[in-house]
Amino acid sequence: METLIQQFINGLVIGSVYALIALGYTMVYGILGLINFAHGDVLMVGALVALQTMMFLMGMAPGMSPLVMLAIALLVAIVVCMLLGFTMERLAYRRLRNAPRLAPLITAIGVSFLLQTIAMIIWGRNYHTYPQLISTTPLQPIEGVFVTPVQITIVIASAALMIGLLLLVNRTKIGRAMRATAENHRVASLMGVDTNAVIAFTFVVGAALAAVAGVMFASNYGIAHYGMGFMPGLKAFTAAVLGGIGNLGGAMLGGVMLGLVESFGAGYIEHLTFGFLNSSYQDIFAFIILGLVLIFRPTGLLGERVSDRA
């Protein structure tokens, strides 16, 4: 029983990070029909920029309270990632909006590897330990079940961000413009929506979420390096597809579900396969889910749009 609850908690924590990243994918996909392959690497940039800022602050003002430090680092990471998202859209994707289907995707892959390479040049190849500004001493709400304050913060913060995003999309003017653009580009622009600005805005919001997710991800595992964005990026994409790509609620649901499946899977795979496979196969669950969803229910769990792309 303790294992069950423990795996549930672990799954929920990582799942909410996936959900945050998945939102970025799903927003861009909903509007442009483009898989922004480099989204995972924006996360990596966010985590590493925050790391750099924290290091800097620790050197400059050692007496600063850790929470303020974290807030500043987050803010810097968010701003840098927003700029990055904006630049990416402006320089690479905008010109390819009417290009043949494979072109934007190949470009996105190129951007992803370019970001990794640049990060490798700046931060080197080695793994960096991530400063733990929120306590990692585990609490024991139930005997044998451990939760760290970091994990609690992650779940609460991502829930808050998701609610914020839902409000932004559903209640504000720019949100309405986003929905209109997602529905139909041309018609939206005929109605006076500046679609270029809306698309840029979408990229920027997605990148900001990715920056936060990056800091969370790195804090949760206590480690950051140049290639850290790839796997969570892929998994978040899976989550977005699982929930129904283009659908915000779906991305959240998919993220949490994927986190749970992965966590339970990693916990029990050894029993299920009689010791043949162990938890080092954790990463294949996402791919298997992705394959299954795309084959049997390409619209995802909550996707109402009939996807002509699948």
Binding site: R95, A103, T107, V111, T117, G275, F287, I288, P298, A310
Partner: protein
Amino acid sequence: MNELAAAVPWLGKRNPMAARWLILIIAIVAPFIAWQFGKSWVRILDFALLYMMLALGLNLVVGFAGLLDLGYIAFYAVGAYTFAFLASPHFDVHLPFWVILPLGAGFAALAGIMLGFPVLRLRGDYLAIVTLGFGEIVRIFMLNLNYPVNITNGPQGINMIDPINLFGWDLSRNIQVTENFTINSLFLYYYFFLLAVAASIVFIQRLQISRVGRAWAAMRDDELAAKAIGINTRNMKLLAFSLGATFGGVSGCLFGAFQGFVSPESFSLMESIAVLTMVVFGGMGNIAGAVVGAFVLALLPEVLRDVAVPLQQTLFGHVLLDPEVLRMLLLSLAMILMMLLRPAGMIPARARYSHDHHLSNKLKQGGAK
């Protein structure tokens, strides 16, 4: 060869025959020139030929059939590991090369069909991600299948793989012709690989203009229309995947035997992307493009390694960008810039069976009236 000859600048259009001979001469003389710069350059040429074969195979899938496959390197891995299993002390099996080669190709083709079936309904971006996942799954298994039964030997990989042995002729041995003249084994491998690549080119060229190739082109340009005119798109897709995979498997076999050592590291996503970049760089859907792309992008990082590292030494006093970083930088920039500036590649495909071609012709005619 025709397309390749036509791609030779200046000469290709005027005198295709001369261009053909020129290519042949360059291909034969290349290792001798490389030898002047050192033994390692011949080795690099050998690897370039393997990459060429990979690029040709991937071009079949991506360029001809329009299915973006990001897990292509998995088939290379299947070929290489097949060879490693069947010709190394790991399981203590030593089958002859001519037995393993078709086996490796067959297993890769089978893997291609296994990948093809579930993704039949997917297109474009979804397909790309699922194939990427497939490649990663294969890699994860290669990394972890050393427990509880040691099959792949995990991250260490398998070494001491038997060299290629053509009916008793061991390619890994230098041939001592006279006292002070030996033919290095790297040359033997080079010419053997060259033959393999040439055979692939001929095969693929015949394939492209065959019924199958035309069906692929139709499917790539408009799947719905292709279906409507009676093309069995399911079979055509499976055929594309399995044939593409076969090339991957064959070059994997050659790679395993040539290098004598395989490990999961050689089959990372980066390699899939590298091969894709070669195809994109040269020009999708074009044999000459794949060959030239593979040649340039396999050689360029090595040239950079030789030029850029000492240059940085003298300029900054230390190496700022190591060769591996340079390679990644080069590949990713090549991919982005090609798509933005020259999406058809260095050598755009002559779109004989392509929708766009007919359309533009029609427009031209319309304009003339």
